[in-house]
């Protein structure tokens, strides 16, 4: 092979990889450039930018992986970016020197549609025939020499999994500038289509030209039926296909729900160990509090999501790589289209039942902007695992354990299930309302390729998971950490010793008065005695409770009491709800502190907290704070509210705009308040 002399042309070549989705483009990118040197979003849009670097025959090559596109007549931001990069109009990306059009050998005609459009860009072109290994097994032979002659550009067969054709492709890339731009494919426009738009006429004429282009180039010899054809028949079968789908989704869900749990424990255990070490080596005081309860707790709250994100993206990349993700969307589309979503929303929404953060990130697989945004906006309504401790505690302590209809169906279980149902029903309603008002528009096409079955490539799968975890840590992690530290400071400062002492005195007097009151229940007496004992521990839970009650947050709770009063809540509950902004489960920790309990003292089931809450009375009265309507209104509020700073930060990052987290927080909080109000008022009216 003839090589260009070194040093000719520009010092560094910019080469773009152009191709349809599912053509093995990512696999080819990994095989050529390895781990990308630059990953992120193009400025102003949420379209993934991926640039890698390689060296061949002494030349440096910058390889730009364009978003998968079907046509250079762009529809949607992905294709617009691809076209802009191609024509050198994308800020921050150098004008390309060579275009590599990746063409799936098993799907030649439709892939050549884009490749032949690329001949009109006016840049040197190389056509890479990918998935050559699959086409061989299918009995397809492509005469690459003849195709190269007809197209007027280099055509190279590649099969990255077995390393075939990579060197030849790199050689062809370096030679391409010397060959200049290829001739544009001659299109014959038919008179019959004269009245149609230019794009429609082009499509019809181009396919006619492609049919001529490939005739005689591709030969098909009869091949034995491939195993993937049998698998395909079974997996799209109405019964077996649906059962298999349910099994795959169950596996996906359990992996992020249960498989991630030990890893998450490991993460929080590790941070706890560091916190204990820092706690032992620093004197008690503001610095130790900031480091241990502010910064380290915040870091733990960020890193703890990484196992779920990495596992979900591993799973999604495997499903995407073998072609099942598109089939899952195909199977589920009918269910979701009715509420204004699409089949592709299914996996992100299902994942959100474990945690909305990986779910929202998984919405990246939805190409359609409108469907993606709608999915992101309703994903936090799915009851995530962080709501479970709240549901468990309140259902266990305040929902009477009675049978509903049949003996084995207990009321607490029914209430728990209702919270999940509530999230789903509200999400469906919100999606439907948004899609028929704010997001109303022409119907979004669901024209979706069902890619052929193939083995996922390990390099691509791991890169997907690594990139997702890293982008979360790097982009969202810092903001989440900042929010945690701010909320910690607000719930611990100012520390006015006079006010703290006065607060402790009032609390103590209240408890002593109730103990002295003969009408106090015997069970409450035990709890009150325990609580009183906490006042004798120096620097103990009682002091911490007083600090929190006298902090900015505690006073905010008092200030906002009129807002939460219609929900049946006292100011402590309002305070805990505000404090739970970094994460929903924080509400239990805050309640523990407010009720003079050390969160570390409590057992896993939260029974001590449950007993304290049961014994709690409205200030100065003997009226119980926690009745069934109040417990239900708290649960309903937490089912629908957006008290999760991490989710809001991730929504901001994924949509590229801080407007959407504000919209999400506002609509969810209003909805949660209204639903909690209805629940409390109805429950009280029913006399529960």
């Amino acid at each position: 092979m003839e090589h260009l002399p070194l040093g000719s042309g520009p010092a560094r070549l910019t080469v773009v990889l152009l191709g349809n989705p599912n053509t093995g483009k990512s696999t080819l990118f990994s095989a050529l450039a390895g781990i990308p040197t630059r990953v992120g979003n193009y400025p102003g849009v949420t379209v993934e930018e991926k640039i890698g670097r390689l060296r061949h025959a002494g030349r440096e090559i910058d390889l730009v992986d364009l978003p998968g596109t079907y046509s250079l007549v762009p529809q949607g931001p992905d294709e617009e970016v691809a076209v802009n990069v191609l024509y050198g109009r994308q800020p921050g990306v150098p004008s390309p020197d060579v275009v590599v059009a990746v063409v799936d050998a098993t799907n030649l005609e439709r892939n050549l549609y884009l490749a032949t459009q690329a001949t009109e860009v006016g840049l040197p072109l190389v056509v890479a025939i990918s998935l050559a290994d699959v086409s061989d097994r299918k009995g397809l032979t492509i005469d690459t020499a003849e195709l190269s002659r007809r197209l007027g550009c280099g055509v190279v067969r590649v099969a990255p999994p077995r390393g075939e054709g990579l060197t030849a492709l790199k050689d062809a890339i370096l030679e391409a500038p010397a060959h200049g731009k290829p001739p544009a494919l001659a299109l014959e426009y038919s008179e019959a289509d004269a009245g149609r738009s230019a794009a429609a006429r082009e499509a019809i004429a181009r396919y006619r030209a492609i049919d001529r282009l490939v005739s005689g180039v591709v030969s098909r010899r009869p091949a034995a039926p491939l195993p993937e054809d049998r698998i395909d028949r079974m997996l799209t079968h109405t019964l077996w296909g649906s059962l298999f789908f349910a099994a795959v989704m169950l596996a996906l869900f359990s992996s992020i729900f249960w498989l991630a749990a030990p890893l998450m424990d490991l993460v929080s255990g590790g941070v706890d160990a560091v916190a204990a070490w820092v706690g032992d080596s620093l004197p008690a005081g503001a610095i130790r509090g900031l480091l241990v309860d502010g910064v380290l707790a915040g870091i733990s709250g960020v890193v703890v999501f990484v196992p779920q994100i990495a596992l979900l993206f591993l799973f999604v990349a495997i499903l995407e790589g073998c072609g099942y993700l598109a089939r899952a969307a195909y199977l589920m589309d009918r269910l979701l289209v009715g509420v204004g979503l699409s089949g592709k929303s299914f996996v992100p929404l299902l994942s959100s039942f474990a945690c909305a953060i990986p779910g929202i990130m998984a919405a990246r697989t939805i190409e359609n902007r409108r469907d993606r945004l709608l999915t992101i906006l309703v994903a936090p309504l799915m009851s995530c695992s962080a709501r479970l401790p709240v549901y468990f505690l309140l259902c266990g302590a305040f929902v009477p354990d009675v049978a509903v209809g049949v003996s084995f169906l207990r009321l607490p279980a029914v209430v728990l299930a209702s919270m999940y149902a509530l999230g789903i029903v509200v999400a469906a309603a919100v999606a439907w309302i948004l899609s028929s008002t704010v997001f109303r528009g022409p119907p979004q096409p669901f024209v979706m390729e069902l890619p052929s079955w193939r083995w996922p490539q390990a390099a691509v799968v791991f890169e997907r998971a690594r990139e997702a975890a890293w982008s979360f840590l790097y982009n969202a992690g810092t903001v989440i950490l900042a929010v945690s530290v701010v909320v910690w400071a607000l719930s611990n400062y100012p520390q006015n010793e006079d006010r703290i002492a006065a607060d402790m005195q009032v609390e103590r007097a209240t408890i002593e008065a109730r103990l002295a009151d003969p009408s106090t229940l015997e069970t409450d007496r035990l709890v009150l005695a325990e609580e009183l004992a906490a006042f004798d521990v120096p620097d103990g839970p009682a002091r911490r409770g007083a600090i929190q009650r006298q902090s900015v947050l505690g006073r905010a709770g008092l200030f906002f009491e009129p807002v939460v009063r219609p929900l049946g809540w006292d100011w402590r509950l309002g305070c805990a709800a505000i404090a739970s902004f970094p994460a929903r489960e924080v509400v239990l920790g805050t309640l523990s502190v407010l009720y003079n309990l050390s969160p570390d003292d409590d057992d896993a089931e939260g029974t001590m907290l449950a007993r304290r809450l049961t014994a709690a009375r409205w200030d100065g009265t003997d009226r119980k704070v926690f009745t069934l309507p109040v417990a239900l209104s708290v649960m309903v509020f937490f089912a629908l509210c957006a008290q999760c700073a991490s989710t809001l930060v991730v929504i901001g990052r994924e949509t590229g705009s801080w407007m959407w987290p504000v919209v999400t927080f506002t609509y969810m909080t209003v909805l949660a308040w209204l639903a909690a109000w209805v629940t409390y008022q109805f429950g009280t009216w029913m006399g529960w």
Binding site: Y70, S71, V73, Q75, T106, N107, L108, E109, R110, Y113, R196, S197, A199, A200, A203, I204, Y207, R208, D211, R220, T236, T238, G241, S242, A326, Y330, L331, M332, D333, R334, L335, V337, G343, P442, P443, P445, F446, V447, M448, E449, L450, P451, S452
Partner: protein
């Protein structure tokens, strides 16, 4: 005259006036038909044409999703899924 389908070629015989046109959404699973035209000039029509549903191409309806929608098509040796509402835009014979 019935269209003569050549399984090895993507393209079928030209239309004759005797062929009664119908739309793709009404085609039963397992049938092989021939595209006459895609109705309209909007983004959806252009995307359908770009995906290869051009006049004269043969399509086999491979299956349908469990709830009857969308449908799975085979054309130009690949698989495509479209909703029935979208299939209604495609005239076939």
């Amino acid at each position: 005259m019935r269209p003569i389908l050549n399984p090895s070629a993507a393209v079928c015989e030209p239309c004759t006036p005797a062929d009664s046109p119908r739309t793709l959404d009404g085609v039963r699973v397992g049938e092989t038909i021939c595209v006459v035209d895609v109705d309209g000039d909007d983004a959806l029509a252009i995307r359908l044409l770009e995906m290869g549903l051009t006049p004269g191409v043969t399509i086999r309806v491979v299956g349908q999703a469990p709830f009857g929608d969308p449908v799975e098509l085979e054309l130009r040796s690949y698989r495509l899924s479209i909703r029935r509402a979208e299939a209604a835009r495609v005239t076939v014979r």
